[in-house]
Subunit: 347 residues, 2 copies
């Protein structure tokens, strides 16, 4: 593993984005979102996912020049000024998502809360980015995306649900925001592969084997394609509601209409909500409440002595600081590919 | 088991609410929400939970006369007209929740979306009631409540999180709304007790035994008090974010501040969001999208032949129809207690 200075990583990504046809501020923002993801320790969804983005540009699923357009709601409407419906026009997923959250924040500054439902967009890379974005702006936020069908509904053995990542963020005035970023599958297929390669068992059951028994064996789940929704029937239901909410409100595609090929996964539906608490509660009260809730979790008796339970996002600031100080860890092959602007072989 | 005509159940509950000090329309609405819950087949949270409500009135945790008051946001504010912060004033939980969702719907009719964050309220009985309420009004909705600490965070062995039920609703024009109502624990303690009494194992792991091993043995989990969050670390994080969102935005209590005694659980924080899609997307498009998503889930290969996967809420209309036709099933002892207006011994 190499460690690359953050600025160098970001500059290399800007160059790569420009190579793919992005220009100016758009190339810089797309690159920054990818670089920040790796800097924050979410290695699967940053630099390591960039080649898949490049492939969707090459195969026409992603348009680097398309900008989102407003289809309904928002300014000028008498009954829906605080929510907008967008067509993502198959543009760059992380740029569309960032723009949608920016607009939701802007609406929240005027109305207390605001939302954007986006149809016809692309993979947003790391969902947590948009939670941090809102929290840095002092807002609470929720957002989620649908995906291709990769999860069997509870009671069935073939995929019909997406793992539909859900992000929820609560802002802290000290910058240590609480940000949850969770997919609806207990483990991603990437994680299953990683365990299988090491010959390791999963820490908890992650799916069914081909005989229909719950198993911790990652290879058995890769073979059956029967990954488990979080909480069994509960995550199955939650995944479905997130899909309906995003697709119905945006007028876009539900999971069943999204191409079931990970390199052609396109035309996603997403939902972004921001809440500006400035005029609601006193900031000091909010900080006291959050401090108490976080302390109670930390003070619960730890299973491993000296390792208290953590809040979502707690490790992010630690990894961010370490990676800014020591350099951001990158796979040498992936880094060479980025320097050479060769993306095909990584995917 | 007795079956009681729905109207008779509701009348008996109105009389019981009046006995507890509720008057007029408030007694009728409180009774209706409880009766509808049992009618819809959610037996644990309707009539069978009424005695616990009666006890909280008797012990002073619930005030039958208190009405919620607006503390911030809403009409007259320049920057937060679409969201309000309420003090529930320790009033009746289901009446406060119903009023909050009504207000969120009203705000959504003016702004496209609207929200109410409620501090200092009480147990809302069945959360799904407020999802159905919004869906009947043609709105999408999300709402959740915090609870007393009844769930260890991931990595700890003592409770510091609530099971914080989350409700998400998507309206259908045919009335077959899709409504999810899920707590953050894999099984409630009530369910564990029910399995233990029958000497049955849980269908999936539901917690840890006292040796710290995952188990399907309900008695072992009752002994350890280590119930499992849905999705292990994921539900642990989701529970915490729901708590922070509701408590920080309402300025109310987080889980750690709620009395850890189920008969004195009081001063809860809740959040209600409604979205009125009328001006966003064409209703016909929304129906087509939902039909497709539901059909895809139903068409996934069932594990038990002839038993397709269901969508959240699908069974509700079936049970509602059956219970209206045959009478609502009630426990004879509970029914006798209701007729005699004696609640103490049920709890």
């Amino acid at each position: 593993m190499l460690r690359i200075p953050y600025d160098e990583l970001q500059s290399a990504l800007v160059r790569a984005c420009e190579h793919l046809g992005l220009r100016g501020e758009r190339a810089r923002l797309c690159a920054r979102l990818v670089a920040e993801t790796t800097r924050d320790g979410v290695y699967t969804h940053g630099l390591n996912r960039f080649p898949r983005f490049a492939v969707t540009v090459a195969n026409g699923c992603t348009s680097v020049t398309a900008l989102p357009t407003v289809l309904g709601g928002g300014a000028g409407t008498s009954n829906s000024p605080a929510i907008e419906r967008w067509n993502g026009n198959l543009g760059v997923g992380n740029l569309n998502a960032y723009a949608a959250m920016e607009r939701a924040i802007e609406l929240a500054r005027g109305f207390g809360l605001g939302a954007v439902a986006v149809a016809n967009t692309n993979h947003w890379m790391r969902g947590g980015s948009y939670g941090w974005q809102a929290a840095e702006a002092g807002c609470f936020a929720m957002c989620w995306t649908n995906t291709l069908a990769n999860l069997p509904p509870w009671g069935a053995s073939t995929p019909a649900l997406g793992n539909n990542p859900l992000v929820i963020a609560a802002p802290r005035s000290n910058g240590a925001h609480v940000v949850l970023d969770m997919a609806m599958s207990q483990f991603s297929y990437g994680t299953l592969t990683s365990y299988a390669r090491r010959g390791a068992q999963l820490p908890v059951p992650g799916g069914f084997d081909q005989a229909g028994e719950l198993t911790r064996d990652p290879a058995a789940i890769e073979a059956s394609k029967r990954a488990l929704p979080v909480g069994y029937w509960k995550g199955s239901g939650l995944s479905m509601l997130l899909d309906l909410f995003a697709a119905m409100l945006s007028g876009g595609r539900a999971v069943n209409e999204i191409p079931a090929d990970s390199l052609r996964e396109s035309g996603l539906s997403q939902f972004f909500l921001a809440i500006n608490p400035a005029d609601l509660a006193a900031r000091a009260d909010m900080e006291r409440i959050a401090d108490g809730a976080i302390a109670a979790v930390r003070d619960a008796a730890p299973i491993v002595p000296g390792q208290p339970a953590r809040y979502p996002g707690e490790r992010t600031l630690y990894l961010r600081e370490e990676n800014l100080r020591l350099g951001v860890p990158v796979d040498p092959d992936v880094w060479q590919g980025l320097m050479a602007l060769r993306f095909e072989k990584w995917t």
